[in-house]
């Protein structure tokens, strides 16, 4: 697996891939011979290409067609690309930390910008709040039979739940319950709310333990993976721009993945977990490298963003294998400043 290419082979391979990225057509020896700066005849190129094919970097769709990069070829290209750039985009922190009231809005705008910029399908997952801390809890009696529970997490993520009760609670009890909840839950991550704490709270709540249970459920809902498929998408229809995706049977699968979103959410989750062990900021999945069967004809570039305190989300850009990796990576890099603009705008429009 660890073969070393001669410099000339590398250059040729690079040229082939570059060219294929632009045109989407198989590229022949003559093209390279003219296009590249290493003055070689087509025949020589052909010889080298035969070698590269044997090594598995390029393939021929059919006899007497030009060559196109194999997954291995793309991998070569991408690895070289990524190492050129620095690795992390973890510092949007200062933008979003506490200031924005509606993270949702910002995320929606971000995907849209990315999608129009890159002309690829784009998806972003809202920060997962597994490690997120409870900041504020409150119960309020909406009417005699219904109590509204509001939970605010770090990053101002707000969740509500209506709790039905059989008979009204008096003011004092409400106050007591609120106190109980806040003192016990405040500052905890959802992971830290364990059974011991729960039973302790239930005990203290006395006859109102069912309400406590409901509130805890609300908190749990906040990280419930079903609840948590907060995934925003944009530009799914961009796939139509790339014939090799549009025509393939999988186009509709792709689109439908973008509609249903569960697959995407799962994928982004996986990426994020993987990311935590590897930690290289930007990942590229070429063809089958991502485990999504839907994506076997695509490449996915992912980036993890962080808003401090382990509040992390993931961005994915999905395009054909011949996607413009350079542009995509740069776009993700620029995201930070883009985000700055977006937020300025949204504040303007809030006035």
């Amino acid at each position: 697996m660890e073969e070393v290419l001669s410099e000339r082979k590398e250059k040729i391979l690079y040229a082939i891939i570059q060219n294929y990225l632009e045109t989407g057509e198989p590229v022949g020896s003559r093209t390279i011979s003219k296009y590249s700066d290493l003055n070689l005849s087509s025949a020589t190129i052909r010889n080298e290409m035969a070698d590269l094919e044997e090594l598995g970097y390029i393939v021929q769709p059919h006899t007497s067609a030009g060559r196109i990069p194999s997954d291995k070829g793309y991998r070569f290209y991408v690895d070289r690309l990524i190492t050129e750039k620095d690795q992390q985009i973890t510092d949007m922190k200062e933008f979003l930390e506490q200031r924005t009231e509606k993270m949702e809005k910002v995320l929606k705008k971000v995907v849209k910008v990315l999608a129009t910029n890159t002309e690829y399908a784009t998806v972003i997952s809202a920060p997962s709040v597994v490690r997120n801390r409870v900041k504020f809890v409150q119960l309020s009696a909406v009417d005699e039979r219904q109590i509204l529970s509001v939970v605010v997490m770090d990053g101002n993520i707000v969740r509500n739940k209506m709790i039905q009760v059989d008979k009204p609670l008096d003011n004092e009890t409400m106050l007591k319950l609120n106190m109980l909840l806040n003192t016990n839950l405040n500052g905890l991550t959802v992971n830290e709310i364990n059974l011991g704490l729960i039973s302790k709270m239930r005990e203290q709540a006395g006859i109102h333990e069912d309400i406590i249970a409901s509130v805890l459920n609300t908190v749990a809902d906040t990280i419930d993976p079903n609840e948590e498929l907060e995934v925003y998408t944009s530009g799914a229809t961009n796939v139509f721009k790339y014939p090799e995706l549009a025509s393939s049977e999988s186009a509709k699968e792709l689109i439908s993945a973008f509609e249903e979103k569960e697959v995407l959410a799962d994928f982004l989750n996986d990426v994020q977990e993987e990311e935590e062990t590897k930690g290289t900021g930007i990942q590229v999945y070429i063809g089958g490298e991502s485990k999504m069967s839907t994506m076997k004809d695509c490449s996915v570039v992912t980036a993890t963003y962080e808003l401090g305190d382990g509040v992390k989300g993931t961005i994915g850009i999905i395009g054909p294998k011949r996607m413009d990796y350079k542009k995509v990576v740069e776009n993700l890099k620029n995201l930070k400043s883009e985000l700055g603009k977006v937020i300025d705008q949204s504040e303007d429009s809030n006035r």
Copy 2:
């Protein structure tokens, strides 16, 4: 415009449409001659068909092809279909009124059921709350600089907004503001909150009038059309099942409409308004009849549902012109009982 068709012409037209709905292919005179119960030769049918074409009910895609229904032809068919059935599906009230905590969930399930049932693209708008009443307002201090405002509307629609303040408010002021808000806003629809009331409240709030303004903004946001594009979709990829849609250029437009949703939201809004003047429960828009240019190759069947107190939403089912109108209409009729099931399930899964 008000021509009357002979009974025989009607029968033939009906047969043509019926047949075309099934096959999607242009239908010729011979087919009708054999298929229908009115024993006529193909030649006779041909004569009648020539007449029907002249009258604009059917068209020939090209010389020497069979005939397909024109928009006018579909209209004939649909009108006849709808008048057969009774007209309203306004009574889901008893299901959703106050009981469900997460309307969102139910709606998502409803679209999904409809989409898989009918095999058409489906869209549903969350109840518009223009006429909805404020039930409960509360401000809470989350920390020194931030106040969370929660507004609950009829139907338990909850909205939150973070309000930034320059310096902390003491408990007493909070209490006063809460009182002020609740007594003034409770039971009002958003339309009823007029300038007079606003300035009156601002006055009473004294130095904290900016906070009142923010809360009122939250209430206003609740009906802000931008905010209000609460539209759920499902089955967009069903369009691929119908060649006449999938192949047409507009397929991508359709899909992208389903992704961006704004167009759909606008459309559903229009429908709802129109519905309020006409009030016939089920509407069918054939081709250009809906003002959405994206939909000129489709038909849309819409139905308005009501949860009592003017809390209304709209369902739209989008398919090819040759969609199975009968099935769709019946499906919408059955929605009520479907909804019943859905809600039972969701209550089960809540335990």
